[in-house]
């Protein structure tokens, strides 16, 4: 009798505490349910449409987990860096460890700014800077395409605070880890947008690069320009490839120190690869290590997308600004390459300028594809790889500027 009563009472308690109850009885619950539906959309895009699944799938799953009411796997209040009185005192990692859920613990690697540089280490192991070394002018296109960041900053600055505008602008870098690095540093989760919002926009548009770029490229170039064939690149010696990452680290690190962690790790990975003497480390850095960190990064960044961070007009604005960022970056790159083509007397195909946004290697592929569309015997890929990898360095420098101003 008493047992049955207790049982019923307990079940009732469980029901009232359950997410199912929350879903149907509160506005927050309904918002969470909406967020979960949105996470399904991103899962669909990742799995069926192949939208950057390595990141978007874990992010979307983190989004699902964080929006299950009461699941307690992520606690945004631990990350504001404010005490009860609302004063800024810095994140209390001891509290995070005591009270945090699984995704809070994994998110530590984001807030400690560890994951993105380590992913850059792995990317460095897989990147060939040869085409850039062979044609260093490509750096200019990698710089121009950062217009995607800075022009977006102007637009975003009209609606958002400096830190938020920087986080949104960096989407234009078309570089996931850089965007997460900057936004996780600048955003405390107290405002309307958080790291997860930025990451969702960045990876979505990165997947959409093949749709966003071509119309812009065609609109800004003439048929004649698109048909320009470029000569073969010179062979780059192994020694140059070894000196390159060291020099870039030193030069960029000295010029803009806040870019050093990203650029430094990218270049360390590349040095590992080009040195040829530590293939054990190259293998692990680009496989096991990078994959582990990708998982941790994805689900914990996804966890920052609680309903109140996404179901608001700011999210729409971010998505709009994000597509603007990619478009402006593409346009900036193409326009500078048009100018360079003029100055060089018609030797540079302006299609390679769009590759400067990074989004390695997709953007370079699109340059190649658009070129081959005009003339199937036109091989632009290697020429586009130069601006493409230069864009990664350019974005990191731009990130450094934003961090040094607002960080």
């Amino acid at each position: 009798m008493i047992i049955l009563e207790t049982l019923l009472q307990t079940l009732k308690d469980l029901w009232f505490e359950s997410g199912l109850y929350a879903f149907v009885t509160s506005v927050d619950g309904l918002k969470s349910l909406a967020m979960i539906l949105i996470s399904f959309v991103f899962m669909f895009l990742a799995i069926k449409k192949g939208f950057e699944p390595l990141l978007l799938l874990p992010i979307a799953f983190g989004m699902l987990l964080t929006n299950i009411p009461n699941a307690g796997m992520y606690h945004p209040e631990l990350w504001t860096g404010m005490n009860a009185a609302g004063e800024h005192v810095g994140i209390d990692y001891l509290q995070v460890m005591r009270e945090g859920g699984l995704l809070d613990i994994l998110y530590m690697g984001v807030k400690l700014q560890v994951y993105p540089p380590l992913i850059f280490l792995g990317i460095g192991c897989m990147t060939d800077f040869g085409p850039l070394i062979a044609n260093p002018k490509s750096f200019l296109l990698g710089a121009a395409a950062q217009g995607g960041i800075f022009f977006t900053f102007i637009l975003a600055g009209l609606f958002f605070t400096g830190k938020e505008a920087s986080s949104i602008a960096i989407i234009g870098g078309a570089d996931g880890p850089t965007a997460i690095y900057v936004s996780s540093k600048l955003l405390s989760g107290g405002g309307a947008i958080d790291t997860g919002t930025i990451a969702l926009a960045a990876y979505t548009y990165m997947a959409l690069v093949p749709i966003i770029q071509p119309p812009i490229m065609r609109a800004l170039t003439t048929k004649k320009e698109r048909s320009i064939k470029m000569g073969q690149l010179r062979k780059v010696s192994k020694t140059e490839k070894i000196i390159f990452p060291i020099a870039v680290t030193l030069i960029i690190g000295s010029l803009i120190p806040s870019a050093a962690p990203l650029v430094g790790m990218l270049m360390l990975g590349n040095l590992f690869k080009e040195s040829g003497v530590v293939s054990r480390l190259v293998d692990t850095a680009q496989n096991a290590m990078m994959n582990i960190i990708t998982i941790f990064l994805g689900i914990s960044v996804g966890a920052t997308t609680k309903a109140d961070k996404v179901i608001n007009k700011e999210f729409l604005l971010v998505m709009l600004l994000g597509v603007a960022a990619f478009s402006l970056g593409t346009a900036s790159g193409v326009l500078l390459s048009k100018l360079m083509n003029k100055l060089s007397g018609g030797k540079i195909n302006p299609l390679i300028g769009s590759a400067g946004v990074s989004a390695v290697p997709m953007a370079a592929r699109i340059s190649q594809k658009e070129g081959a569309r005009e003339d199937p015997t036109n091989f632009l890929l290697m020429h586009a790889m130069g601006p493409n990898v230069a864009g990664v360095i350019g974005s990191a420098v731009a990130a450094g500027v934003l961090l040094s101003v607002f960080g």
């Binding site: 008493i2 047992i3 390595l54 996931g176 880890p177 594809k369």
Partner: protein
């Protein structure tokens, strides 16, 4: 029976009072047990309902599409024909492995011909790095560089 009665009076309270650091009364033990069973069965029965509905939905869809396009769904679902009933799991998995290996080989050839290029220049390289690394490697390669 007296003990029982005493427990009974305490019962509505004790579930919220239990901090777990002391022994719990027998009523509490039973209540936890029953609650546990109830929740486990409840949860899994909801799953049964969902999965059954899901299965029915897909079966009906699959039945509908069969007369129209008898070969298409076969490709979608794994094409493994199961000849003998003995150790179906092993057979199935070995077949899948073979299929995967063949797919990998075919896609590798496709790559070699350079019809769809782009980053292929990157990937073949990594293919050679990893050399023999298995079925999944070839397939996964393209996506791997993309997201970063």
């Amino acid at each position: 029976m007296k003990t029982w009665m005493m427990l009974a009076n305490a019962a509505p309270l004790f579930m919220s009072e239990m901090n777990g650091n002391e022994k719990i009364p027998f009523t509490g033990i039973i209540a936890v047990t029953l609650t546990g069973f109830a929740v486990v069965f409840l949860g899994l029965i909801i799953l049964i309902a969902f999965v059954s509905l899901l299965g029915k939905f897909f079966e009906s869809r699959s039945n509908k599409s069969k007369p129209d396009a008898p070969s298409a769904p076969k490709q979608e679902q794994k094409p493994a024909p199961k000849p003998a009933p003995k150790s179906p799991a092993a057979d199935l998995n070995e077949e899948q492995a073979v299929v995967a290996a063949i797919c990998a080989a075919i896609s590798a050839m496709g790559d070699a011909e350079g019809t769809t290029y782009a980053v292929k220049s990157i990937r073949p390289r990594q293919a050679s790095v990893r050399g023999a690394r298995p079925a999944w490697y070839m397939a996964g390669l393209r996506d791997n560089t993309t997201p970063f």
